[in-house]
Amino acid sequence: MITATGVMDNEQVYRSYAVELTRYATGLVGPFDAADVVTDACLKAFSARKWPEVSNRRAYLYRAVLSVANDHHRSTLSRRLREMKTATPESAPSQDIDFDVLGAVERLSVQQRAAVLLTYWADLPAEAVAEQMGISTGAVKRHLVRARKHLEEWLS
């Protein structure tokens, strides 16, 4: 897994970050499609020409997950929630679903979710969130303000 030069191969990189990437993806697109998003993002990253030269692979993979999640239509989470609510117990996913939280988060855009997650789950300062998302610090703050506006009811 570790090559002779000490550089992690793709599989090792994947195993190192798969858990946290899946958590991040869960926050971005919900638990139902998180695994697909992580798989797509990793395939994209590993096949990128510049991948071998990437020094911060963790950050790169986080960006890849956000990029794939951006293409994932936001209404998919709402649809999945509706399906879940009408699903028979046998067909329901095994993991516990927090409908209260997902119901609140479905009102946010993927970018707003990313700003919330990186700020409150990853505990990153606004500058680091901005760098991670590839946007300005002001944009991060705007995302957070708008997210809080959408979450007003939940927060109260």
């Binding site: 858990v19 990437l21 638990p31 697909d36 293409d71 516990d96 970018q111 944009a139 708008r146 939940w154």
Partner: protein, 376 residues
């Protein structure tokens, strides 16, 4: 924001992440994936109305062989009979670009129901002449819409590229296509990073409108081809041979062309994200720009011409270099608004190089690229 709100936000983030499933297994096979949608979308191929009629006529025969397991077609339900037409795989290269089996699904309806003409989603880059342009260079704008199926397997997965060479391509007002309709795609293959597009002889003549038109045509083709799958460059060939003399000035295209090849022949502000949305979503407007102090401005203009919202964003680079910019616009769109993206002139503050894009709202299909009167 209160500390209580902060605590609640953290609780929300933690509870959200707590629902995380097990990580997926390591993706052993690194293959090139197509990005347009995360969900797999069957590629539909119609060889024209005659084929549809033939397939519809074949349904009763098919059903009668099924031993009555399928409900009678007289039913008005939406049950379908999958009729699979598997096409020859494309001339393959070293990669594992997955070509889904081409499938035509014919609705099993009564003969009183008109056959549903399936369409395919396409993302293409169209051209706009910006207002108050500094350079006179055209802007590239991504548009998402639908086209009728190409009818040839080589177009599968490259609908946007196909659409650019389609006769009768319909674009919204204010947008143009610099690819002459005489240009045809003979084949498309891909490896990990490069897409090879084989064209007919008409490609060699270029846009027919001078060097800037040729650059614009190439930009449209390169950006449209690389909009999906993480591809980085495009190699153009004509009848399988390298192109050493293209367009009015005989440009050498024998090497793969990346997205940065002709950047400086573009407007200083370009838009990468199709301007459409649904419901109460915010609207994402993203693109690339090379503007003074990297400051890109945006306006939402309503149907009466009033500016109802303004915003600005900082691109990742500016004043002499190209950077990515992004807006998230929170506004109650109804679909008759226009988004204007520009930069403020350093001399007099006036909006410069303005790109104007009509907003499509609650219209998931996007533009109908084939609705031009007289389209075959």
């Amino acid at each position: 924001m209160s500390r209580s709100d902060d605590r609640k936000m953290k609780e929300l983030a933690d509870r959200l992440v707590a629902m995380s499933p097990e990580p997926p297994p390591y993706p052993e096979e690194v293959s090139v994936t197509h990005r347009e949608d995360s969900k797999p979308r069957p590629v539909l191929v119609f060889a024209g109305a005659a084929l549809v009629v033939l397939l519809l006529a074949a349904i009763p025969i098919f059903l009668s062989r099924g031993g009555g397991e399928v409900d009678p077609v007289a039913s008005s339900t939406t049950s379908t009979v999958p009729t699979t037409v598997t096409t020859q795989p494309q001339a393959s290269t070293t990669v594992t670009t997955e070509q889904p089996a081409t499938t035509t699904t014919v609705p099993a309806t009564t003969t009183t129901t008109a056959p549903v003409v399936e369409t395919e989603e396409a993302v293409l880059y169209a051209v706009q002449t910006p207002e108050n342009s500094f350079t006179g260079n055209p802007a590239l704008v991504a548009l998402r819409g639908v086209v009728l199926p190409g009818g040839e397997t080589l177009h599968s997965g490259w609908e946007g590229l196909y659409a650019l060479t389609m006769e009768g391509l319909f674009l919204p007002d204010g947008f143009a296509n610099m690819v002459p309709s005489a240009v045809d795609i003979l084949g498309v293959t891909a490896d990990d990073h490069t897409v090879t597009v084989d064209m007919n002889d008409a490609f060699l003549a270029g846009s027919g409108s001078g060097l800037l038109g040729d650059f614009t045509m190439l930009n449209q083709l390169i950006y449209t081809t690389t909009v999906q799958g993480g591809f980085e460059s495009v190699l153009f060939t004509v009848n399988g041979a390298p192109v050493t003399a293209f367009g009015s000035e005989g440009l050498d295209l024998s090497e793969p062309q990346g997205r940065d090849a002709y950047l400086d022949q573009l407007n200083s502000v370009n838009v990468d994200s199709p301007i459409q949305g649904i419901g109460d979503e915010s609207l994402r407007v993203a693109g690339f720009a090379n503007v003074f102090e990297a400051t890109v401005s945006l306006e939402v203009v309503d149907a009466s011409g009033n500016v109802v919202q303004e915003d600005f964003a900082t691109a990742t680079c500016g004043t002499g270099c190209w950077g990515a910019y992004e807006f998230e616009v929170d506004y109650s769109f109804v679909g008759d608004e226009t988004i204007r993206v520009f930069w403020h002139s350093a001399e007099d503050g006036s909006p410069s190089d303005v790109v104007s894009i009509p907003v499509l709202w609650d219209d998931p299909d996007g533009w109908d690229f084939t609705s031009h009167p007289g389209t075959p």
